[in-house]
């Protein structure tokens, strides 16, 4: 009996040590928006290098920032860049900064349900801001009608729908609205949750879509990927160059290309209302948050290896999942930045 127990203990220790030797578990947490592509990437990378196992919890950007700051995960992920206070809080706690690495691009699109309208609607920035501020209340308001000549818009009340849960989608949407509307920037500002002047809240993309589908004469906003995968009709938005652009992989990439030239060294850049004739104005990067110093050499090499792979081979997986690729300039800049992780 005693010998058996001893044997068992020995076997267990052996198994544990083998497991520990072979499997390096790297924990991350954060944004939900890039979760489909991240889980694909981590899966593919694990196939390539079976020793490395990434574990990513899509708990939301805010929670991702909090957890990486607390040091409970190895890396974070966010849809909106960390603000200066958050960066300072990280620096104060750890003694070294945290770095942003853009991974893919996404976009937010206006979706609507006007039973008497069958063609795709055009939205000017003024119309979107007016509707979400509660200033434009009827579908046949001149601000909407002027951009949709020939469309028979009804004189019904507009029912505004927004996200009720905090989300990167809301961050991108409100970031755009605060850039194009003085009043929005003064009254509401941007954030993952804001104090909405009007409207109903739906939980998640599916909640917003459900409300819009069920409520005649409503308007809402969802992620491009969600709209594309569920065949939800959405409108075009007038960009900074004055053209009406419908969101797709090309127009989103073009928004990023416009911003790539002026990309700051810390990659914290907003690409809403980007210049460029074909640029879709409500686009955004999404970022991985990597600590500048990683003391565990194995983890450091794995994370750096993954980042390099993500920028090269990894980008080829993006389009099948409806994410837009990073522009070349950004990829080159990031490759250089990876060496900054020590």
């Amino acid at each position: 009996m005693k010998r058996l127990t001893g044997l068992l203990v020995a076997a267990l220790t052996l198994a544990a040590s083998v497991w520990a030797d072979n499997d390096l578990l790297i924990n991350g947490a954060g944004a939900t928006f890039p979760y489909p592509i991240y889980s694909k990437w981590f899966d593919e990378y694990h196939k390539k290098d079976a020793k490395i196992q990434f574990n990513y919890q899509s708990v939301g950007s805010g929670a991702g920032i909090k957890q990486v700051t607390d040091g409970t995960v190895d890396f974070g992920a966010t849809d909106g860049p960390m603000n200066d206070d958050q960066l300072k809080a990280y620096q104060d706690k750890h003694g070294f900064p945290i770095l942003h690495f853009p991974t893919v691009l996404g976009a937010v699109v206006p979706t609507y349900n006007v039973p008497s309208v069958s063609s795709a609607l055009n939205f000017t920035p003024e119309a979107l801001a007016g509707i979400y501020l509660g200033k434009i209340t009827k579908w046949n308001d001149p601000a909407i009608a002027a951009a949709n000549k020939g469309v028979n818009l009804p004189a019904t009340d507009i029912i505004v729908v927004h996200r009720s849960d905090g989300s990167g989608t809301t961050y991108c949407w409100t970031d755009y609205l605060s850039k194009i509307s003085e009043e929005w920037n003064g009254k509401v500002k941007k954030g993952t949750s804001v104090n909405w002047p009007v409207g109903l809240g739906g939980k998640g993309n599916e909640g917003v879509t459900g409300l819009v589908k069920q409520t005649p004469n409503s308007i809402g906003y969802v992620e491009l990927i969600y709209a594309a995968q569920n065949n939800i009709p959405y409108g075009a938005v007038k960009n900074a160059a004055g053209t009406f652009v419908k969101a797709d992989l090309k127009s989103v990439s073009e928004a990023a290309a416009g911003a790539a030239k002026s990309m700051p060294d810390d990659f914290r850049v907003s690409i809403t209302n980007a210049p460029g004739k074909g640029a879709y104005p409500i686009s955004t990067f999404t970022w991985l948050l990597i600590p500048e110093k990683i003391s565990d050499a194995g983890k450091r090499d794995s994370i750096k290896g993954f980042l390099k792979w993500m920028l090269a081979d990894g980008q080829s997986y993006t389009e099948q999942l409806s994410y837009a690729k990073l522009p070349k300039e950004v990829v080159e800049k990031e490759k250089k930045a990876i060496s900054g992780v020590q």
Partner: protein, 328 residues
Amino acid sequence: MVTTSTTYGSTGPAARSRSFLSKLRDGDEIARLVTFLFAMSVVLITVLLVYQLWVNSALPRHKFGLHFFATEVWDPIADEYGALPFIYGTLVTSAVALLLAVPLGIGAAIFLAELAPPRISDALQFFIDLLAAVPSVIYGLLGAFIVVPLMRTVIYPALNKPLGFMPIFKGPSYGVGFFTAGIVLAIMVIPYIISVSREVLLSVPRDQREAALALGATRWESTWKVVVPFAKTGIMGSIFLALARALGETMAVTMVIGNTPKIAASLFAPGYSIAAVIANEFTEATGDLYLQSLIALGLVLFILTFVINGLARLLIVVTTQKGSGVTR
């Protein structure tokens, strides 16, 4: 002298420990101790819960004070938080739910316990138990896909046309709102009311019924005037169990209430509840004050439940004292 004292001193504890041991062998002491610890764990959990909520909501408590309960603003960007719209929404939806569920639930329980043949009663009880076990997100889905459109196209016109002059039935309907949330909550809590009330009614002694019938009462008179008053305390208990569930319900409510932190007199207006806002915003609450305000809302919900339960106990005490002569 010395010897006596030593013998005395040594036999005393030995005798006591022997009796303790024999008790142990009987299992009495162990059972007592173990069950006592289990019972105390309830107190411990409650105390720890309140302590954690209290400690982690220090920031808003110091910054807003009692003002927290009186402001209608919920602005994560400006870092200003007030609990009032959420408290209002929680109370209103729960009140609507009880108004709808209590008559229905108790009526059904009376039928099942007093009037229905036992076989039908047992069969229906099976369905009720099934309903009570359905996860709340399923009720939320049904609410969002069935009650919400029904609200907009059928219930709202039916109530708004004849009763629209009253503030609570005024204004437009989006389908989602206080009333819709109340209906979904009512559907969710009815099984609890029926199930517990039925058990309570069934446990009323046979003598009570027979005595009433012997005095010449009809079946309904004996049920309504004797059996129901006898079971009043238990029925109250079932209502408060239902209320507790309605106050804390999260998923189903957030799917149908509209998630708008505003106070409106109309039941058709969209609103928000405490549990719903916590579930919606907790993951993305980045600032300390923001996060702690949400935890403070949790504390408010706890206090609300505590106060309502306290009032419920009081109500039971008062009504049983001057009530139907039933003593406990």
